[in-house]
Symmetry: D2
């Protein structure tokens, strides 16, 4: 079960970084949705390594094949299985890591859990696993767009000590994609890119924050208790490699605010439903969407793989010094944007479908 | 399903703030665990209103009854159902809220989702719903203590603009409980208490941060993908009323650190397993516990109910001015401590049980 | 999890035959459904002991209390918790069974599984546990009636060696309820009643078969693979105490038929959808309802509790002779009718809700 | 979710009869289990078409590829993905079925549910989907054998009007596999084979019954309420294409027995646990295994595809006459044996894993 998520829009990923390939099965996508491989490939291309000099040099085309669930350009309602073959794997490059636990990687914990580990790469902990999620997210995007008019957009808000002020309500996809950092503020983007280059030269790495927004979410998605919308978003975000923190709306800043400052006053909306004058709630109140933009932030730690020498231990508990070789991102943030989007899309698709089974008895009581 | 959580240690809560009562069913607790009502009542008493002048004046004893699943002081392996009757409900006090949406409450979103609302209180969105979680958490605490030697302890880290420096590795339960704020630093606790009183007098409210730690967690709990331990902890935390943010280990501070600063070097441990020289990971690497203390932080917004007049709308989308009456907490943080502990306990109990079904084939491969 | 069932119409039962009470939590019932305790009590009264001289003399009123989820006569969309207190428990009557395994009961297997057993009755294996299912089934009945026009009706088809020929398409609720056996053929009902009385006098017991039908089920409910409608019905049926077999449509008779005999020819229906000329399929084809009546049969073994002396062993593996005392049904079939109905109602409610999340994108492709 | 089953040994199948291929993801298989493709291929070869002249002439090698989850001959604990490419698909052969609903197939119900259908074959309703189940079952077989000493064996008990008396306690795999019918009684096997040949020549088809047994199951597997072992077995059985009935132990014959006849007396066993003198219970009492052989029977209807002309309707509700072309089995029973085995193996593997998370607190209470 640990490789599945979602109640009705059910996603199961499989595959290690080195092996036959990476894939995903999406069960529960409604039938008759227009879908083709190109729609999925588009998001995968935003995630793939080697897309710019800011990312890892591992160069894999990551071409997706639709194995099932689509017929004549439309979904069948049956499981949609997608497969991306591993092509640029280089197991020999990992031979020196066979008996060593890399600091702040999952090497040690994987062995503690399973008593076995595919040392030819990161296994399930590899960022390659997110291929399946981004591919599934692309299907969710198509569903939410077609069925509900919901759009999800993410961007880089912070890298290292550089934070970009961006107006969440107006930022566009083209602005985000205009720069390889995926920071839509051109000036800050360049400073971020320079910082990434400097870290790479220095054998070091950087962290950052991705902000993601969902527009067009109708009121009523979510649930009041365990499956609050922000709870599922938090889980989705923290399930990404290297994620360390999550905020919705005001986030940690809320801790220092007073109720008078924080409460979002309701005002009459044009379509006879209320609007809020501010959005500290981040689009969710009591676990349920209120129709505002949903705004989340996800913090990522700096990449654990660095070129500098580090202290660690081997599998026999002996101290050793490790110097990483091989290809890696000095900063995951640019590639994390489509990953966070995907995770948000999966949560929204699931909750949107769940709501279809809630609102089934007519609305007379609402008057 | 929205009222259930956990895969093997399965918790289902029920009940509204006004009605027959609040309860919980815990399915999957192993048999033969010592359990009695007093163990559960202990945690409920830390959660209940009216425990100090810092909390709401609603005074309910919240006495728990074990309906099933326990026989002669031990669990049977069957569902443990617990019931707490509502006794101090005062529906009349809510009559003026029947047609009004309180700002930053769940009134509007509940109607948007369900088309109906029990206006005699907060319904499922009421903090009273957490009675079931705290009661279930007390059972999880008993299980983790007896079966695995795991202890969970939370405290108030921040209220408003006051942050208390506390040494996570040494803080004790008695230190936390010594002051009604549940801040274990006496000096800071008093400043926090004064701030809460000031907010109450001012018709305002305060937010804050709870830090919670799990000690004695063995390496290997968690999962590498969707059900990462930190992901389930994040969901559990954000499912609490008023929670806005979650961090594990370094949290958002990680975004501004470099890999060299952030990586936790491994050193040989005394029992032939590695230890980390720092704990930016927060006890979890790649979604799986590494044996270190697990450290999380949860941000809470200021209480939405304030005595000051506020702009809002009614159910017919007309603007109205609302002045809250009735009893409420000017700051939920002191009572949030047992809630966050409970949520962490539920996640750990579930993952501990899940691991029993993973490590079943002997460990020869680990040598 | 073993005490929960259903994906969207989620039912969790709790309680042992001796203890605080028996209950159920129904999570996922749509909001705004008319519901009151009397609707639930009606089905519970058909299940309760002591309703006629054919059933056990244990006389419990089994009054249901709605603890949550209903407000002003309508469901809120939140969990509906129901509680029935145990009133006629007589633990002393079981003292002699404390260390003995009754043949073909769950005494031994319960201890094998849990290492502990509430010997003051049947615990979770008691037929009393089905109170929660029948109560939940009554809510499902109300939902299916109001939302979809689906009706479920069961009756006794066979007791011992007596089988009643009944026209499934025309039999009515009043015919079933006209006789305490719940066999709608008056002549056969009387023979069955006489056989039950004879078995009781002889210290013996009888088995039988319940047939149940669902009318008005729209085409399209179910699923093509693991969650075939007949698969979920089979699980639901075999989860009842004493159930030994399940059939849909032609059932085991299909094994001796040829394809020409068994296939149900399609003919044009009046509303531009096909009808079948026969119904060997039992209303389900490929796991999905076809709009015909769904017809199932469930076989029940004779009651394991008999007054005659029996060989068995005690907890120390010593041979002993056991003579049952206490109150029991010589034949469960009359009371099994509302139980099978309830299980079928729960499956249909769940699949009906699931279908609401499938058919969401318009039907243009169907033309 | 409809394409997934199991709680801890979690199986998700994908793929249509015509498309990229058929596959399965097994999540939750414990790590360090010896596994290679040959072990899986062995069971697939027993399922594949074209294995004898009794089965369909569609000739596909059905070679399985392990995509993930296995490293150096052992499971990693991560999802095991298996893929079998479709090679002998012949979509043109189905062109004449594009607008016609074949009687007692899933053509109509699939369109009723999804509003779309891959008419180039049976889609998800095709028996080809069971490739994934048999492959997953082979992994479960390996787990149960290695971890618990459990063996599952099925055989053909009845075809058409021919029933073979077979001693369940002594029948062997070699006896079953000695004849292409998979009936271990050579004389009856030959009569069955002749009947199948006769049906084929006559443009007709036959049904039958598979009996399957599990040996070496320890006491304690299963659950007392919804997830009774026989309930999950019933669901597993009825989820197979063409299954119409399920029995455990005495099955429908129990209905005509008395309690004195049916009860299984306990006698002292050699290892200080009780044995039963008969096995009407079929190895399960109160939903939990008692250590006896588990014995189930599954009834299959005659193949719906027959060469004879049949009445039906097309998608515009017009009456048409259909004569099947193409390749099909005149009797699915020989190939159904590995399918039923697989389904039983999946249920037992899941419940065996579940029990590892129940029996965790030591057994002092059992003395």
């Amino acid at each position: 079960m640990s490789s599945s998520t979602g109640r009705l829009f059910r996603v199961t990923t499989f595959g290690e970084s080195h092996g036959g390939g990476i894939g995903v099965v999406v069960d529960g996508c409604p039938p008759r949705l227009e879908l083709d491989a190109a729609m999925i490939q588009h998001d995968l291309d935003r995630r793939r390594p080697g897309q710019s000099r800011l990312t890892t040099q591992r160069d894999e085309a990551d071409r997706v094949e639709i194995l099932s669930g689509v017929f004549e350009g439309r979904t069948l309602g049956s499981p949609i299985a997608l497969l991306v073959r591993n092509s640029d794997a280089n197991p020999g490059a990992y031979e020196h890591l066979k008996d060593v636990y890399r600091p702040s990687h999952a090497d040690y914990t994987t062995e503690a859990k399973y008593g076995i580990r595919n040392w030819q790469g990161g296994g399930r902990a590899s960022a390659r696993e997110t291929i399946g999620r981004v591919a599934a997210g692309a299907i969710a995007r198509q569903l939410l767009r077609a069925a509900a008019g919901i759009e999800v957009l993410g961007w880089v808000h912070q890298i290292g000590r550089v934070t970009a002020p961006v107006d969440s309500t107006s930022v566009t996809y083209d602005q985000v994609e205009a720069h390889p950092t995926r920071c839509p503020s051109p000036d800050h983007a360049q400073v971020m890119a320079d910082a990434i280059e400097a870290a790479r030269r220095d054998g070091d790495s950087l962290g950052g924050v991705v902000r993601t927004i969902a527009r067009g979410v109708p009121p009523g998605l979510g649930a009041p208790v365990f499956d609050k919308l922000e709870a599922d978003l938090a889980k989705a975000a923290l399930s990404l490699p290297a994620a360390k923190g999550f905020e919705i709306g005001s986030g940690f800043a809320a801790a220092a605010m007073t109720g008078r400052e924080h409460n979002d006053p309701f005002t009459p909306g044009p379509d006879s439903r209320p609007r809020t004058a501010s959005n500290h709630s981040g689009g969710v109140q009591g676990g349920i969407s209120n129709g505002d933009d949903i705004v989340i932030q996800v913090a990522f730690k700096p990449t654990a793989t660095i070129a500098s020498a580090q202290r660690t231990v081997d599998r026999r508990n002996n101290p050793v010094t490790l110097s990483a070789r091989g290809r890696h991102d000095p900063c995951v943030l640019p590639r994390a944007v489509p990953m966070v989007e995907a995770q948000m899309l999966l949560v929204l698709a699931d909750h949107w479908l769940r709501q279809q089974a809630v609102d089934v008895l007519g609305c007379e009581a609402q008057s």
